[in-house]
Symmetry: C2
Subunit: 228 residues, 2 copies
Amino acid sequence: GRKVLIVYAHQEPKSLNGSLKRVAVEELSKQGCSVTVSDLYAMQFEPRATRNDIVGCLHNSEEFNYGVETWEAYKRGGLSGDLIEEQKKVQEADLLIFQFPLYWFSMPAIMKGWMDRVLVQGFAHEFPKCYDSGLLKNKLALFSFTTGGSKEMYAKGGISGDIRYLLWPMQHGIMHFCGVKVLAPHICFAPEYVSEEKRKEMLIAWAQRLKTLWKEEPINCSPEWYFK
Amino acid sequence: GRKVLIVYAHQEPKSLNGSLKRVAVEELSKQGCSVTVSDLYAMQFEPRATRNDIVGCLHNSEEFNYGVETWEAYKRGGLSGDLIEEQKKVQEADLLIFQFPLYWFSMPAIMKGWMDRVLVQGFAHEFPKCYDSGLLKNKLALFSFTTGGSKEMYAKGGISGDIRYLLWPMQHGIMHFCGVKVLAPHICFAPEYVSEEKRKEMLIAWAQRLKTLWKEEPINCSPEWYFK
């Protein structure tokens, strides 16, 4: 059975994001996958990258460098418990699903903090092991999110620009950098401004897509996909 | 005298980011500007968008919607104290400088949390008052940051793509959306991999730029600037 980690960032279980998460757990479990959820708000996940992420002495206590310190701590098993826990989940997963409402053309800070703190050097990448040779290769990722703006606003030539423009930092800058292959994003546009009926259709469409997810080919994560 | 708010996100005062912040405070003060710094890590700024940001009763306690609740709370003066404090600083500022190390093609989570929580509807935008008619028009913003990757990696055709690609969500999606005009970014590439001498030159170049900053024209914040 395949293993899936859903990293989920919404405060309200009754939200559409909450329902999308639930649908994914149900559908993937039905397929025989083993599904783990990191419910970031419920966990009160810490987004701030600080000295607290390193247990014990620092490599250089004169001048704190987060990247160097977490790299060194990772190598000696000295990262804080919450990070080790998340890294274990990532390590075991074949697929990472990120489920969130788009905040300011990006993920909410609590999820950005997950990226900042979990994907440390040594674990997810280690120069020159990045991009196609990143340490998390052979894994898949999928960004599933809701927007405030409409599909028209996020069209090419629309006021907010092609939605793909804002996927570049998340899909290429983070996932591809770590060697993870990226499936097409799953986007629910402006659920707050549509009928209950339409929102139900959004949930059905997501369940439907998940049925054949494992047959999908990753996108070609190059500038052409994003900016052409 | 003009007013400047520096939103600063680095854990270590001795870092290059710390020095860049100090240089800006010194140079702008010398010019007669009044400079305020929000030192996010020192403030232990909360990045998580939660129910705690609303004082008193919720507008809809059945189903928590962060965007709606903070909008309503803003209108009745019911946002948490730390947000009111930051909004006051933004309101008074002519120029916002964001000083940070690039984390995963974006700002550190603690700074993303500042965007998520401070720039609430009603204060920074209120549909259809967004983009050129955003509520923070007549203000300027400048993103000043350091990178891990080299200038070559962030060149057009480089493995990390043109650095402008990753500026889209921050400059257009956040600042332009709120009506803020954006000055050209100030980027120090890979300071950890250059000599102490070169790092000193980076500080001098920043101080130099600040001397004539008020004569600069904002960039043309359209897809052409980012993706051409």
